[in-house]
């Protein structure tokens, strides 16, 4: 927080990392080549993995159902390419865990046309039919979390959704995916909003966009269909405004209760690319085959915003765009919350919003860790108003219970602002990530003991 904080139109605290979006925000979305082999992991979303319904040796058409949802919190998977299933085996994922996966050999001369399914008409379909359609299309949050969208949209009994917020913030540095989607897929976005309004019962929709994407805001404002209750709200640039809770506070001046969901303040938030995907797929009854991904970073030669089939191996992607000899780290997602890739044999998944390549000199590894001098920079950065300094000290002493009970550890959503600003280079959010996992594990063990 600065000396004066006059920006009433935003949430408290937060940080201003360099945006680094200039190199790709003017580049239109381009179709990426089809990889000779597509490797499709079944665990690409939060929830149960999809269950494979095809067999080895089977020929599949692009858009064909390959796997059905593994439960309510799960989505089906569709063929990203036309080809032949060579193998069904475990494949590596970014978390390091193996997941069941399908290897598809792409037909080299296929036109890669997409199968039509059962269209859903936004005017006649019921809310349930739309939710089912969204699940059937395999749609998950494309902002990065990859949470099945139909679960999020389902308004629980006794709650009411007043406002639908479309998240076009894209506060992560480097990423320009949503920016391009807003500039190029406006009709899909508005069709998607139409479905979403119906599915949630919300009266109106607000598209939140940060001021560094004014062109996208203007473009969308010009194309709002007459009968659609949509407004556009341009917000000052600040990280992590793209986080649901922060966005709701910025737009509606409401706070989502701790441990609660946006629906408790009558809001559902959907990422703008997710809305566009719904608007593109549902009228044709299709499933997700590809998504827009920003490939950028100092180590990439052909930077850009690409439409890449899900399941494309990362190694193929990097070979196509060309990377620097001195490549050091590759991240999936942005530099603030993205995950470092340990293995290039993983695939692009539905939640991949960006691929960032850093060379050795971009990664600051030499910085020495000093003791905490209680400067309070982390306290002034934390959007949830936690005390990261104190939490960091407690984490060092493994005082996890106190972190949870006295310092609201579980409210931390790991945006990394504290680590970003810390002059002593203390890996605060890294401590918290670990602490949260340990706490969850302990709780699970406790529960098991009670049940046993």
């Amino acid at each position: 927080m600065g000396f004066f904080n006059f920006h009433k139109n935003t949430f408290k605290n937060g940080i201003h990392p360099p945006e680094s979006k200039d190199e790709t925000n003017d580049l239109p979305i381009r179709q990426f080549p089809f990889a000779p082999v597509i490797i499709l992991p079944m665990a690409q979303h939060i929830g149960a993995p999809s269950q494979i319904v095809v067999r080895e040796g089977q020929e599949v058409h692009r858009g064909e159902l390959l796997a059905k949802a593994g439960g309510y919190v799960s989505v089906p998977m569709h063929a990203p390419v036309s080809g032949i299933i060579r193998k069904i085996a475990n494949v590596p994922t970014i978390s390091g865990k193996m997941s069941p996966g399908i290897f598809i050999e792409t037909f080299p001369f296929s036109t890669q046309e997409v199968l039509e399914g059962n269209p859903i008409d936004p005017d006649t379909a019921t809310a349930e039919e739309i939710l089912q359609g969204i699940q059937d299309a395999g749609i998950v949050g494309l902002g990065g979390a990859a949470f099945p969208t139909h679960v999020k949209l389902k308004v629980p009994e006794g709650k009411k959704c007043e406002t639908l917020i479309i998240n076009g913030i894209e506060c992560e540095p480097y990423l320009t995916t949503d920016h391009r989607v807003m500039l190029e897929q406006e009709s899909d976005i508005f069709t998607g909003i139409k479905y979403l309004l119906k599915a949630t019962g919300a009266k109106n929709a607000i598209i939140g966009i940060e001021a560094n994407k004014q062109d996208a805001a203007d473009h969308l404002a010009k194309h709002i269909p007459k009968e659609l209750p949509v407004t556009i709200k341009v917000l000052p640039v600040k990280y992590p405004q793209g986080a649901e809770k922060m966005l709701i506070t910025s737009i509606l001046r409401k706070e989502v209760p701790s441990k609660g969901f946006p629906i408790e303040v009558g809001v559902v938030v959907v990422n703008v690319a997710t809305a566009a995907e719904i608007g593109r797929l549902l009228p044709h009854g299709r499933g997700i085959q590809e998504r827009v991904i920003t490939i950028t970073g100092p180590g990439v030669k052909k930077k850009g915003n690409y439409l890449i089939p899900v399941g494309t191996p990362l190694r193929f992607v990097l070979d196509q765009v060309g990377v620097d000899e001195e490549i050091s780290e590759v991240y999936m997602g942005g530099p603030m919350m993205g995950v470092a890739v340990s293995n290039l044999d993983i695939s692009i998944v539905k939640g991949t919003s960006g691929i960032l390549v850093f060379t050795g000199k971009d990664v600051d590894r030499s910085s020495k860790i000093y003791p905490c001098i209680k400067c309070g920079a982390c306290v002034d950065a934390c959007p949830i108003l936690l005390n990261p300094s104190k939490l960091g000290i407690l984490a060092k002493f493994e005082a996890y219970d106190q972190m949870v009970s006295d310092y609201n550890l579980m409210d931390c959503f790991e945006c990394g602002s504290c680590t970003y600003v810390c002059p002593s280079h203390i890996p605060l959010v890294q401590y918290f990530r670990l602490s949260k996992r340990i706490v969850r594990k302990r709780e699970a063990v406790k529960k098991e003991e009670v049940n046993a």
């Binding site: 995950v339 209680k374 400067c375 949830i384 005390n387 002059p423």
Partner: protein
């Protein structure tokens, strides 16, 4: 084909690129004008006192690190700050050996014994000064007039007092505005206080230069603006109320705020990050305690000045302020907990 092995690390993968020693270096920079003014005002005497205190702190820190077989921590500049601050709170013709002892005590007992940078409970410079005040009550209250004509050519005899000997002070001793007020009932005009044409500790006399140093640090986001604001405001309000109550008995709030070590204390001592609270409300409380205690000590105690003891007391309370006063975490409210 890519063959290189990748490195992995946990996000975030970028940082602000500011480090603790950057902050410390900037504090040293902000203190430089104060040091120069001190030299201008008190001449060679003051310069020698400040240099000695700084040298003592740096040497002690280095020696203690060596002793405990750790990498030396003098490069983080925190010992330099302690030394400068100690030097700036001592009288200009203070014996050098005493200043040196002060520096050693500040680092050894005020900081290193607690675990070094980041762990000290009290501001090390003030710990040193408190010890000096107790040990050498005469030397630390013998003031030297400002702007003497021969200040750049001669050095007072007391400065070079032989170690463990009592200093012989020159006949021309001045009174600080606060002691002049306390013991003789004379108030100094505010303009003289603000621009430092007065006697006092080497670094405390020019309120304007101190405030400018503070503004620089605040503008660079390297200092909490709340602490100096809270100290000055609370001192001003309390002394103002007393002044309105009885103009004969109590000095004007401007005199109180600009005299003595209040400005130096508010800007450079109370803002020591390690020994102050961390939450915004905590900072206000902490600053308020310092401002009010200072006025209380100045007016009702036997001492003319109370900034040092108020800050040390507030330092002691500061961890407790942090435990009691917490930020209201997003999505919670204090009432909800009771329900």
């Amino acid at each position: 084909m890519l063959k290189k092995t990748l490195d992995i690390s946990s996000s975030p993968h970028i940082n602000k690129g500011r480090s603790t020693d950057d902050i410390m270096k900037n504090v040293v920079c902000a203190l430089m004008p104060v040091v120069f003014f001190s030299f201008y005002s008190f001449g060679l005497n003051a310069l020698l006192v400040i240099l000695t205190a700084t040298l003592a702190c740096v040497l002690t820190e280095h020696f203690l690190c060596r002793l405990s077989k750790k990498e030396t921590t003098v490069n983080d500049y925190s010992a330099v700050i302690t030394g400068l601050l100690l030097g700036l709170t001592l009288p200009p013709s203070f014996p050098l050996w005493m200043a040196f002892v002060g520096g050693v005590i500040g680092i050894a007992l005020g900081k290193y014994i607690f675990g070094g940078l980041g762990y000290n409970v009290f501001n090390p410079a003030l710990v040193a000064r408190a010890v000096l005040q107790a040990a050498f009550p005469v030397a630390i209250t013998t003031w030297h007039p400002a702007l003497l004509p021969d200040r750049f050519s001669t050095i007072s005899g007391s400065v070079f007092t032989w170690p463990f000997m009592q200093p012989q002070f020159d006949a021309i001793a001045g009174a600080t505005p606060l002691s002049a007020f306390k013991f003789d009932g004379i108030t100094t005009p505010t303009m003289e206080l603000a621009f430092g044409q007065i006697s006092g500790s080497t670094g405390e006399t020019c309120a304007v230069i101190i405030a400018l140093g503070g503004l620089y640090l605040i503008a660079r986001n390297m200092m909490s603006w709340r602490i100096p604001m809270a100290v000055v405001l609370s001192a001003f309000v309390l002394s103002g109320a007393l002044y309105l109550f009885n103009r004969e008995l109590y000095p004007s709030p401007f005199f109180m705020v600009f005299s003595g070590g209040l400005m130096l204390g508010a800007v450079f001592m109370a803002t020591d990050m390690v020994s102050s609270p961390i939450t915004p409300i905590g900072l206000w409380i902490y600053g308020g305690i310092i401002g009010i205690l200072t006025i209380v000590i100045r007016i009702w105690s036997g001492l003319p000045e109370g900034v040092m003891y108020s800050i040390l007391l507030a330092n002691a309370i500061s961890p407790h302020i942090d435990t009691v006063v917490k930020n209201r975490v997003y999505g919670t409210n204090r009432k909800m907990k009771a329900a």
